[in-house]
Every structure is written in C-alpha cells, then in structure tokens.
Symmetry: none
Subunit: 399 residues, 2 copies
C-alpha cells in the first residue's frame, strides 16, 4: 500500500503531531493485573483517550520485537524490512555523527587477543568510556587512500568507524567470530561491489592492530554491522509534508533526519517539549515528539520507575494537548515491559484525536481499554496513512 498512499498524498491539510513514548507498552504486574501504563496516574492521556479513536498497533508483525530503528521507521510510514537501516548506521546516528549518503558505518568492539591472535575477551573487559575515547582518538589517526576515515567512541568497549568516499558498499561479513579462543575473521565480501570496501577495512584492521598491539586493556578490534547509508525517500517527497522532530536522544534525532525531518533543538522536559512545539507549530505540517524515559526505565526492569516515567509522559501529553493540533496521535514505538527488561513484540496502545476521528467508548489509555477502541489493531506502518487521512491529507483513491 506504500505507493498507493504516496500517490494520493495531498499538498495541504491539517497539522499533525505524533507523540511517541518510547517502549510505552508493557505487561501486567502479577499482583495487580495492571500494566505500567494502567497503573500510572494519567489524567491527561485518559482525557485524550476519551476524545479520540483508540486502538493498538503491532510494531512490525506479530511476534517481531523491533529495535528502535525499525520501530520508528514503521511509525514514519516506512516498511522497516525494505528500508532496513544497518547496525553501523544506527550506531553512528546514535552518537549524533553527521552521516552522509554513501558513508559506510561500522560498529566496533574493542577486544583482547592472546599472542597467537586468538580472542580472549570479545568486549575487552568493558573498558571505561575514557579508555575508549583514548583508543578511538589513536585509531582516528589512521589514514587511507581516497577515503576519509572517522573513528568515534560510543561507550565502554563500543566505537564506530565511518568511511566516506566514492564507491563504498555495506553488507560485508562481520569480523567478530562471536566466540573466544579463535582469531577475529577478516572482512569478507558477499558480492563483488564490496571488494574495495573490504580491502580498505582489512587494511584498517592491520593498521589498528599495529596501533593497539602493546595496549594491555584492548589490543584488538572487531567489526560488526558494516552498513552503507542508503538513500531513503523523504517524508516530504512521499507524503507532501514539511516535518520536524523534537527529541532528546541522538538515535531518534538521527532516524528522523534520515527520512528528511528537520531535527530541531533537543528536548527532554515537558517545558522544553511545549516550548519547542509552540515555536515550530506554525512552520511545519508534521511534528514528531519523542519521549525516552518510558523505554529506559522498562529496560532497567523497574516497574515503579516505568510507572513514574509514564506519569511524566502524561504531563508531556498535557502540554501537547494544550497546543491543540488538528491531529494528535499518541503511542509508543514498541513495548518494553519492565518484567522483561527489554523490548518486546507486544502491541502498543494508540489514540488519534481529530475532529473526524470515530470517538469510541475508551476513556482510559491502556493496553486493555484500547482493545475496545474503534481503530482496532493495526500495523505501525498504517499509522502514517491514518494520521494523514485524519488531517485531510489523502485524496480519494479511485472514483
């Protein structure tokens, strides 16, 4: 349906705000039978639910647990399988690296190897971030013919390499053998167009080995997720909207930038969201607002902390409601049940508030209540067409 939606997108219509609480969905507490969202005191989300069409969305497909990249691509109306963003690219976006079309990004792990070159620790004992910064600065001095090379720290044993130049390719095989007692693998190609990139990366590995060989904490690196930044049609081209992102985390800012949204100033608090939204509202057709804490508290495995984060999100929702956008869609990108302490595949509550929404009986925003909503259960990728439709931004298909 993607091309159908693109083909009927109208040049004008109402303004849309997509408000995303990362990892919003959860699982019931065994004692109360209520999820984090159902436990939290959320008068503003409940009021919105009462004015809205409610439902649930499945992020990718039943049973599929998404990372943040694919989950947000789906929310933005992109088939996350077709537009798969490589791990290296996501890692580079996650540190706010200014990645450009055609760049190849690689996730790097610092490691230790013995005298025979066999891996003894795939994560180099999780070296300090300070050490990571020191070593990446050293590797950043490596120069290669006809390409620019950037080496940047991420955190602990994790770093990123970016190659910039003509004729580079992604999709090469990882060098991390996923085991100790064996040496790292060489970079290997899976098709002919990758040969030059493989040569460059293997040369880089050799140079890095030289620079690190006397380093007791981390005398080797492995490469994973070697990925090129490929062209993605923008939301402007596809849906004829001028779009902006208000987010505090580099990863989400990065993914929003990938699909052509203007990435505005960092926001984290309710005050910052309100200020950012009011400042941007006149100039944009579509504004994506991202709230992170519901995910990070879920990943920490703390039910109570996720409840508290959800209550904080409720205040953000109140501020967004105060701006009174023509179409307001509130949801999460995926579930992060605190009892699982990780992302999950479970469906995610969603509400759409608009003058032409089919308002239903749902008056509390939660996993169970939304089952009775008029939107039913849809795929995340269907939410963009639904937002556009409610904003009067999709023309009739056929006569």
């Amino acid at each position: 349906m993607a091309n159908l939606v693109d083909s009927i997108a109208a040049e004008s219509g109402g303004k849309i705000v997509l408000l995303v609480a990362d990892g919003l969905g959860g699982l019931p507490h065994p004692e109360t039978g209520l999820t984090e969202l159902e436990t939290a005191r959320t008068p503003n989300l409940d009021a919105l639910a009462g004015e809205a069409a409610c439902g649930l969305h499945v992020p990718i497909a039943p049973g599929i647990t998404p990372g943040s990249g694919p989950a947000h691509m789906a929310l933005f109306g992109y088939d996350p399988v077709r537009y798969e963003i490589g791990r290296g690219v996501l890692e580079a976006l996650g540190i706010g690296f200014d990645l450009r079309l055609g760049d190849v990004a690689i996730r790097v792990n610092f490691a230790t190897v013995d005298k025979e070159g066999r891996i003894t620790d795939r994560r180099a004992g999780r070296i300090s971030t300070a050490k990571c910064e020191e070593l990446t600065a050293r590797l950043d001095q490596i120069q290669m013919p006809l390409v620019e090379v950037f080496v940047r720290p991420v955190r602990e044993h994790r770093a990123v390499i970016v190659l910039r130049g003509a004729g580079l390719a992604g999709g090469l095989r990882d060098t991390d053998p996923q085991a100790t007692g064996v040496p790292p693998l060489p970079v290997e190609i899976t098709d002919g167009a990758q040969e030059r990139t493989a040569d460059l990366l293997n040369a880089f590995l050799g140079a890095a080995g030289e620079l690190l060989k006397d380093e007791p904490e981390a005398n080797a690196i492995t490469m994973r997720g070697i990925a090129a930044l490929e062209e993605i049609p923008s939301v402007g081209e596809r849906f004829k909207i001028k779009a902006a992102a208000l987010a505090g985390y580099p990863m989400y800012r990065g993914v929003a930038g990938l699909v052509g949204m203007d990435v505005l100033s960092m926001v984290e608090t309710a005050d910052e969201v309100e200020e950012g939204l009011r400042a941007a509202y006149r100039d944009y057709d579509f504004i994506f607002v991202h709230f992170k804490k519901t995910d990070s508290t879920g990943e920490d495995g703390s039910f109570d902390a996720k409840v508290a984060a959800t209550e904080e999100f409720d205040e953000v929702a109140a501020r967004v409601r105060g701006v009174n956008p023509d179409v307001l869609l509130v949801t999460g990108d995926h579930s992060t049940p605190s009892m699982m302490a990780t992302h999950s595949w479970h469906s995610v509550p969603v509400l759409v508030r608009a003058a032409n929404a089919r308002v239903d009986e749902v008056a509390t925003f939660g996993e169970s209540a939304c089952l009775r909503g008029s939107l039913g259960t849809v795929r995340a990728i269907d939410l963009m067409p639904l937002m556009l439709a409610h904003a009067g931004r999709l023309k009739k298909f056929g006569a």
Copy 2:
C-alpha cells in the same frame, strides 16, 4: 491470498447474498455519541446481527478513502490496486454505456476559453444538462479513421467519450491543466503504445474546437482519466459462482458487469429488491444487492436524512432475510459520515449470517457494537473468501 482462494474454490455450495448499503459507516453525532446507523431504528438489522457473526471491515487499507469503484472491487474479492479501474471507464459505466474490452473511455469537461485559447472557466459555468446533451450530440458526429467514436452526456458540464477499435491504450496525460488563464494541454503519451490513441484524441480535440468555437456557453473541452477497459477475470472463473447483480445505479451495475455478474433489472425499493431476489434466487449462486441512499444522504451532509435512509435499508434487509439465503452478508462499501459529507476511510460494520457462522454477543448492528464481534476487523477483500467459506464453497487448503 487471491490466488489461494481461487485455487480452492469449489464447484458447488450454498447460495450467497451480499447486501451492500453504500456508504453505510458513519461518525457519531456530537450530541448523542451515536452514528447514523446507531441512531436509526433498525430492528431487522439488529435481529440479523443477533443471528450472525459480526465485525468491521477496512475497505482498502487504514486511512485510505475509496471511490465506489475500488470499494466494490474489494467487496467482490478483487485487489483494488491491482485491478484499478480508470476514471473514464467508471464514468462510462456510470451512465450505463455498454463498454467493451479494449474500449478507451475519457471523462470530458466542457469549458470556456478566451480568444487566446486560455481557459476562463474549467466547468463552463456548469452548463445545464440539456445544453450538455445538445453539445455532446454535436460532438458525437465527429468521425475518425478506423475507430468508432461515441460522445455521451453525463450531467451539467460533464460528458464521456469512448473510442472503440484495435490497438487503443489508456493512461495518457489529462489535458485539463487544473487552472484557468492557461490553455488546455495536448494529450501526451506516457509510453510508446499510446501514440495512436494520442493522435486520435488530439485530432478529436481539434475537431471539437471547430464545432464549439462559436458556442458562447462552452467553446472548449478538456479530457481527463483516459482509461482502457482491461480484461478482468470474472467471479465465475475465479470463484466458480454464477453471480448476478440487483442495483439501481448504473455505476454499480457497471462494476458488477465488469467482474462478470449478470446485471438484472433495476431495483430501488424494498419491494423491487424482494421481487428481484426471489426471481433470481434459484438461478444464481451469488447475488449482489446494492442500496444507494445511505451514501447519497451522507454525501449531502444530512445526519437525519442518512438515518432515514438507513431505516429504509432496514426494510430492504428484512425482505432479504425473508428469502433466507444460506449465507447473507450485510455491510457497506465504505463509510460516508454525514458530518464529513464525503466518503471516508473509517471501517464499516459487517455481519455474516449462516448456519456455520460463529454467532457472537453482538445484537445491534452498529460501528461500536461490531467491535465486539467474532469476525474482528478484516479487509474488505477478505469478505468474499469469508462468504464462500460460510457457503461451503472453499475446499481445504493442503492436507
């Protein structure tokens, strides 16, 4: 799934009636929170719901507002994107023109142009239908080599041209520039197979300009939706059913004819529907019954008139129920909320009454109640396999 369904269609089974109230779905009245269907007194539809499996259908995909053509194609089990029927073809079907395979149909607007040939009114002041008939009769005299040319009035400034002959093609560019102050565009090709058709239509435009040049009310025409009638596999071939259509409006009669249904006598009233259905029931496996007023009153923007039309439809449903078909599916082709006064993307209530239907708790036919139905929310294209299944007309898939 289309090919799967076709491949397991059985040669025999029960009789199916598909009863469609055009534009059935609606939106809640702001004062009562009830839609048109929920407001209307519909004892017969409610009784049917109580005996049936209920649910909702999404006509095309979430957020997509369909025209009548694609919406009915989906109800008939055809992917409306794959079998997209061009605007010219639908317009010709809409006036009951006997279109044949390979014909190219074009929607025409009468317009006015100034001395320099620049459009001054794209709709020629919406000339009277009588004037339209006079001018189309004049243009119908245009003759072209090796093709037959038909020019027919539609209404006001709208008309239809049909070219009939070998080697014609559709998909050529519209000549309506969608603006005034500029001349109409020539017909242009988008691929090589359209060259002859473009030459013919440009010659027609020249001849039409001559015939209209002294006509004060409408001295020009524009062409839109240039479309060929392409072959569509019939419901008989695909689903092994002998099918008939009972409808009062040319457009729906036309679309039913396109998929190989026998188009029976015009019906509008409950009496006519009952009479037509009883007369045809023995001879057909599948009978499509179309009721128009729920859509036209919705398009007029009158909540009360749509409620009244829905109550009229309830009487039609009573008559159809009296015939007691083996499988009776009642639904709409799309929603036409009177508060929007146009087609919309909202889901549409559906009920399937059959001996083997999973009867649920839903005992009133309406948008909210059907959310609790055993069918859940499906796509319109899934309704044909569901009807066939309930009629025992689909064999087991695999062993």
